[in-house]
Amino acid sequence: MLKIWSMKQQQQKSDAASGQTKKKKVTAAQLRVQKDLSELALPGTMKTVFPNPDDILNFTLTLTPDEGLYKGGVFNFTFAITQNFPHEPPKVKCKEKIYHPNIDLEGNVCLNILREDWKPVLNLNAVIVGLQFLFLEPNASDPLNKDAANDLMTDRDRFKRNVRSAMAGGAVKGETFDRVMK
């Protein structure tokens, strides 16, 4: 055992902290989220809400698209990050029941980097940009809500009308959606 210490002494001495601290250390996941948050470049159409400011692993992202089919809506996404971040992706769900080809009625979101394409090098900004993109360019070829995808594919005008009526709290094909207008 002494050998290790003598090797340690040979390594360059740093001015690292001395003495022992009994306090809990900022965890690796917290460090990473803090860094991601400091790099976040949020446009005016997005903001974050931290129900408990001391807990940066759980927050809500509010999206208010100012262009595209979903313009004028307010959409809230919960972000739940575990201590295993960034090994695991954040868990993201839409709080409102909305009519969108890539978001199902339970709020599950089909975004590749939230599941199959997640890599620890990706950051929260990438996820947020991805969500923003879903509202500008809903994608009919990888649907979670098949009805919405079919509408988008076959009749873009009808899809537009359905989006507007769903956003106003109306029903589409018997399914009632949450009102999300500003």
Partner: protein
């Protein structure tokens, strides 16, 4: 076929315990009493010193499962006398094909205590203290009492936690604060063992890329275009359960729950003409079951304990010498193959890349003054910093909502926000690394 004759029983030298001498440890002692081909004369004095090191070392074993059972046995029979073991799990019937300290009658009991009890009964010279619970329950005082930590875990999260804890405990002025961490892992016929000398070698956080993230299938594939039996099972698991049994917490050990998922998956598979959904596959997908066998566990656990023994005795070169190999990968499905290499330490590792530095602070000054001073510190010059402790968000320049809610803190005195000796982390969008400091009040 069985023997019919027994030789004259030889009276044991003492009643069970061998107090007189070290006859029991003859093989180990012989080796430790002779210089080897790879021992450094300045470092290894054959005989009493290495033997005493083994007897006096206090070892922590994390995990009492497939690897843990083997590790406890190996350490006890390597002459270690003081061991603690932590595990929060209870024994399941599917453990019995490899976790050899457990029997049918033990199913449902805590692993740590049954394992400790068994090894102590078999090797009376060894005292093993079990703790049934989580590693996170324990603080630095607890971890400080050990000389070596050997891990047999299946969770990456727990590995990262103990790694960060041990890195954080290293004190330049106290040799005892450096605890070698030896980590093993297996999957089927494959496994690895690695040695981490906290702050000196590459750490588990540096090596995070060695763990492949769990393969996942796009949600939309599950929802609309399933092609494989696994897609149908994942659909039942992720989508259907939420839809129909939202209020019931899924218990993957409850056969009724698995059966429910299995039936949903099966009918979906039939709908799409997909074959191959079985109960066993459902269980495998839902619980993310990783195949595990006795032989791979034996190999990886013994390799880990061999490193611990070499470190404690200095009787041969060990993995983890800075600049030398620290990682052994093992594959046994096609022949036998190991790849032993040095995993490089990462300068930007969030855990060991830049260790906390002491920062002298006046408890009566404000957080605002601290934030201003950060902008002037030569190494950082942080213009838009985010600051937090483990518990508290101190001040965040961004995002705006956190800036707003933490702004009042800027006026508060440091003593209200930070305890003496507490760590805090500072990030800034302009820097790749996060700076860490330890508060020292003047």
């Amino acid at each position: 076929m069985a023997a019919t004759m027994q030789p004259e029983a030889v009276a044991p030298t003492t009643n069970g315990h061998n107090s007189s001498g070290r006859a029991r440890w003859k093989y180990m002692d012989t080796l430790l009493s002779r210089p080897g081909a790879y021992t450094d004369p300045d470092d290894f004095v054959p005989g009493a010193v290495p033997i005493g090191n083994v007897e006096q070392s206090h070892v922590l074993v994390i995990g009492a499962g497939g690897l843990g059972c083997e590790i406890l046995k190996n350490l006890a029979l390597s002459g270690f006398k003081k061991i603690d073991v932590i595990d929060m799990d209870t024994i399941d019937v599917s453990n019995l094909n490899r976790q050899f300290l457990f029997r049918e009658k033990d199913v449902g009991k805590p692993k740590a205590s049954v394992a400790a009890e068994f090894v102590m009964q078999r090797v009376p010279s060894c005292k093993i203290t079990p703790y049934v619970g989580k590693i996170q329950d324990k603080d630095e005082d607890y971890y400080m009492q050990f000389n070596v930590v050997v891990c047999g875990l299946d969770s990456i999260e727990a590995r990262r936690w103990i790694n960060a804890t041990l890195v954080g405990m290293v004190d330049e002025n106290n040799p005892d604060s450096l605890k070698p961490l030896i980590d093993g892992g297996t999957e089927g016929f494959k496994g690895q063992s690695r040695v981490i000398l906290p702050t000196m070698t590459s750490c588990i956080e540096c090596q995070l890329d060695m763990h492949a993230p769990r393969a996942a299938v796009p949600l939309c594939t599950l929802a609309t275009i399933p092609r494989q039996p696994q897609h149908c099972i994942e659909w039942a698991h992720i989508i259907k359960w939420e839809e129909e049994r939202k209020d019931l917490v899924l218990d993957t050990d409850d056969p009724e729950h698995i059966t429910w998922l299995y039936e949903k998956a099966l009918s979906r598979a039939q709908e799409y003409n997909i074959s191959g959904v079985t109960y066993s596959m459902t269980q495998g997908v839902v619980k993310n079951i990783i195949p595990a066998i006795a032989s791979t566990n034996a190999i990886v656990a013994a390799s880990s304990c061999n490193e611990a023994f070499k470190i404690v005795t200095s009787s041969a070169t060990f993995l983890g010498n800075p600049g030398l190999n620290n990682y052994m990968l093992y594959t046994g499905d096609s022949g036998v193959y190991t790849y032993t290499f040095e995993h490089q330490k990462k300068d930007d590792c969030p855990v060991c890349g830049n260790l906390p530095k002491d920062m002298l602070l006046n408890p009566e000054s404000t957080l605002g003054e601290l934030v201003e001073s950060l902008a002037e510190r030569p190494e950082s010059q942080l213009k838009k910093p985010n600051l937090r402790t483990e518990e508290k968000t101190l001040y965040y320049s961004a995002p705006a909502s956190l800036e707003e809610s933490t702004r009042p803190n800027l006026k508060r005195k440091l003593r209200e926000l930070l305890a003496d000796g507490e760590d805090f982390a500072v990030s800034d969008g302009a820097f790749d690394i996060t700076f860490r400091y330890t508060v020292r009040y003047t």
